[in-house]
């Protein structure tokens, strides 16, 4: 404690003098500067550097050694005869990653929202051990993505737990992670398992915020359970559902760690997503191209900014509806 006390004693007259000189606005600056400095060094500067890198070429790491190439990296990434067919694109790996990410986002978000919704509806009922079930579903959120990937790799690998069960049941072992379909399905399923607890919690909070009186009024109105769900629960859960949808969407676009540990992007490029492409082109591949990776990350960042703006707008709308 002593160093903090001493620091406070020393700083107090300095801050008092500063406050007298600069007033209220000056004190606001004093408290904001440390945070803004860290934010600037670790977020703003890398962002600007990344943007500059995207206009440069070559394999060198230091910016001053890299030649300025203008929009060439973007042109290379976007050069395609048919964007729906990665084979026809100059940077076909990028477009495979984009396609994989799009398929992943569509399937994972749909699965995530559906499973989280069903889980929240079940956990909102008066079931035995409700607290325990809530903890069970939330627990995977606390795990490191690498741990999640490793656990599921041990389950799904050739001599893994799942094949052990399949064999015990009299079936033939399946090489889950070497099959394009099953590897992709595993990436979708594992990331859903790992994060659904968080979204379930948001939806559960939304469900619990719906006044019980409304359900009783619906009961008095002889409303069938399915109609209660579609006409009362779902519309009133709409703002929470929209937030879940967009957050899940952003998270799905950023998919990397669990999937990378689980499948390494394979078999082939079946589970290589945009973030993995950026990582490999920028850092891991033999012919690394930091400029191309930077351009790809700027494009992905743009997409995420749009999704985040939508999420913010929906959160504000949800807040307004709650205050009503």
């Amino acid at each position: 404690m002593l160093p903090f006390v001493l620091a406070a004693r020393v700083l107090e007259p300095v801050l008092a003098l500063w406050q007298r000189r600069t007033g209220h606005a000056g004190m606001i600056a004093v408290f904001l500067i440390p945070n803004m400095t860290i934010f600037g060094i670790f977020v703003i500067v890398p962002l600007v550097l990344n943007l500059l890198y995207s206009f440069t070429g070559g394999a060198e790491i230091l910016l001053e050694q890299r030649p300025w190439v203008g929009m060439q990296q973007y042109e290379r990434l976007l050069d395609c005869q048919n964007h729906l067919q990665p084979m026809t694109c100059r940077e076909d790996q990028f477009w495979r990653a984009v396609h994989n990410t799009a398929r992943f986002v569509l399937s994972q978000v749909a699965l995530m929202v559906t499973v989280s919704m069903i889980t929240a509806l079940i956990l909102n009922r008066r079931i035995a051990g409700r607290g325990l079930w809530r903890a069970v579903f939330f627990f995977p959120v606390l795990l490191s993505p690498v741990v999640v990937g490793l656990i599921w790799r041990w389950i799904l690998q050739r001599e893994g737990l799942l094949n052990l069960i399949v064999v015990r049941l009299g079936g033939d072992p399946v090489i889950w992670l070497n099959d394009r379909f099953w590897a992709f399905a595993a990436a979708v399923g594992v990331s859903t398992w790992a994060h659904m607890g968080f979204y379930t919690l948001i939806l559960l909070a939304g469900l619990q915020a719906i006044p019980r009186d409304l359900y009783e009024a619906a009961e008095m109105d002889a409303t069938p359970p399915s109609r209660v769900f579609w006409r009362i629960t779902l519309p009133l859960l709409g703002p929470n559902l929209a937030v879940v949808l967009v957050l899940a969407l952003i998270r799905a676009v950023q998919i990397f760690d669990e999937a990378y540990v689980l499948t390494g992007g394979g078999p082939g490029t079946a589970t290589m997503f945009m973030t993995q492409y950026i990582y490999e082109v920028g850092f891991a591949s033999f012919l690394r191209n930091p400029g191309l990776a930077a351009a790809a990350s700027i494009l992905m960042g743009g997409l995420l900014v749009v999704l985040t703006l939508i999420q913010l707008a929906l959160s504000r709308r949800a807040e307004r509806m709650r205050q009503r």
């Binding site: 006044p211 009961e219 008095m220 109105d221 002889a222 006409r231």
Partner: protein, 348 residues
């Protein structure tokens, strides 16, 4: 038809019995008010009738039919909730028609019923608004409208005016009374406000700790309370109560007022504040020192304390020239006196 009978209704929550064997008959078209202090079980009893709670034992009959095991939807009742429970994402029109759509009623019939309810409650110009765009009184009307459109066997109203300000509550109370007269439907109304109970009810059910203390017309409850609880609960300010000992058929009140009583032993004498008046020179009265004088214009409420330290409240017509700290003798007509035994039951 809309007669309701409760036979030996008990309700427990987690092993704790909150309603203890209630028996009650409500006639068709009657407006019955459940009144009592917080936690007396009035709302629980209403929810049991509605079918939102199941009794632990006993029978509920509607028009002679046992509905105890039927769900809320199958009892043909409509409920107005304390919070109104309007669907916030639906317009007033959708709120009114939602229940009818559940019954798969033809659209034209739904439209006609909604229009009729809107006309009756003067909410025709609010039909396209959402509940958040309505005032408290308007929401209240919509909640009643939602009940009316279903043309129910009986209306159940759970403290429907408690969220309104005093002025609006008075207006809505009068509107509810008029509505009951117009519809002629059975209504069960829960409130803790005795003015609502007294002004609206055909009969009042006074509840305490899950038991019925008395069921009677408002004036009978006021004039002949069955026990000390009802005597103290009905009437504002509450009845003055004096504990004394009756000997040889006579009891003595503070100030030496000697009264004939049909009892011996410990008794409680009750006199309503409205039945006290300043004693004349030759009239016996209870001496008291005034601690507070509330001049309300048409009447004045005097709060005093007797020589034996018992509180005494009197409501005097007009604006008597009295001040705090003044000593006063307050007299009453012995015919207005209420007498209770030591157990609190009325004996005269």
């Amino acid at each position: 038809m809309g007669s309701i009978a409760l036979r030996g209704i008990c309700k427990s929550f987690g092993g704790i019995e909150v309603i203890h064997g209630i028996d009650l008959e409500i006639a068709n078209g009657e407006l019955v008010v459940f009144v009592g202090p917080s936690g007396c079980g009035k709302s629980t009893l209403l929810r049991l009738i509605a079918g939102l709670e199941r009794p632990s034992s006993g029978l509920i009959e509607i028009d002679g039919r046992d509905v105890t095991r039927l769900g809320a939807a199958d009892r043909g009742l409509a409920m107005v909730f304390q919070s109104y429970a309007l669907y916030p994402h639906m317009t007033v029109r959708q709120n009114l028609s939602f229940g009818l759509e559940n019954l798969r009623m033809p659209k034209a019939e739904i439209a006609a019923r909604v229009a009729e309810a809107a006309r009756m409650l003067a909410i025709g110009d609010l039909l396209e608004r959402r509940p958040a765009q309505l005032s408290g009184g308007q929401r209240q009307r919509v909640a009643i409208g939602r009940a009316i459109v279903r043309n129910p066997t009986a209306f159940l109203l759970d403290e429907p005016l408690s969220n309104l300000d005093a002025e609006l509550r008075g207006t809505m109370r009068a509107e509810l009374a008029a509505l009951h007269d117009r519809l002629g439907a059975t209504m069960i109304y829960v409130t803790h406000d005795q003015i609502e109970a007294m002004t609206l009810a055909d009969r009042i059910v006074v509840l305490r700790r899950g038991r019925i203390e008395q069921v009677d017309t408002p004036l009978n409850l006021y004039n002949r309370p069955a026990n000390l609880f009802v005597a103290g609960f009905i009437g504002s300010p509450a009845m003055n109560l004096f504990r004394t000992e009756a000997r040889g058929g006579r009891a003595v009140l503070p100030g030496g007022i000697d009264l004939p009583v049909p009892a011996d032993g410990p008794v409680v004498l009750g006199i309503r504040p409205q039945h006290l008046h300043p004693a004349g020179p030759d009239e016996a009265g209870i001496p008291a020192e005034l601690r507070l004088v509330e001049a309300l214009g048409a009447e004045t409420v005097l709060h005093g304390i007797t020589d034996s330290g018992e509180p005494l409240v009197a409501v005097i017509d007009g604006q008597p020239a009295v001040t705090r700290g003044q000593r006063l003798r307050l007299a009453f007509d012995p015919a207005d006196m209420h007498l209770f035994d030591a157990g609190g039951r009325r004996i005269g």
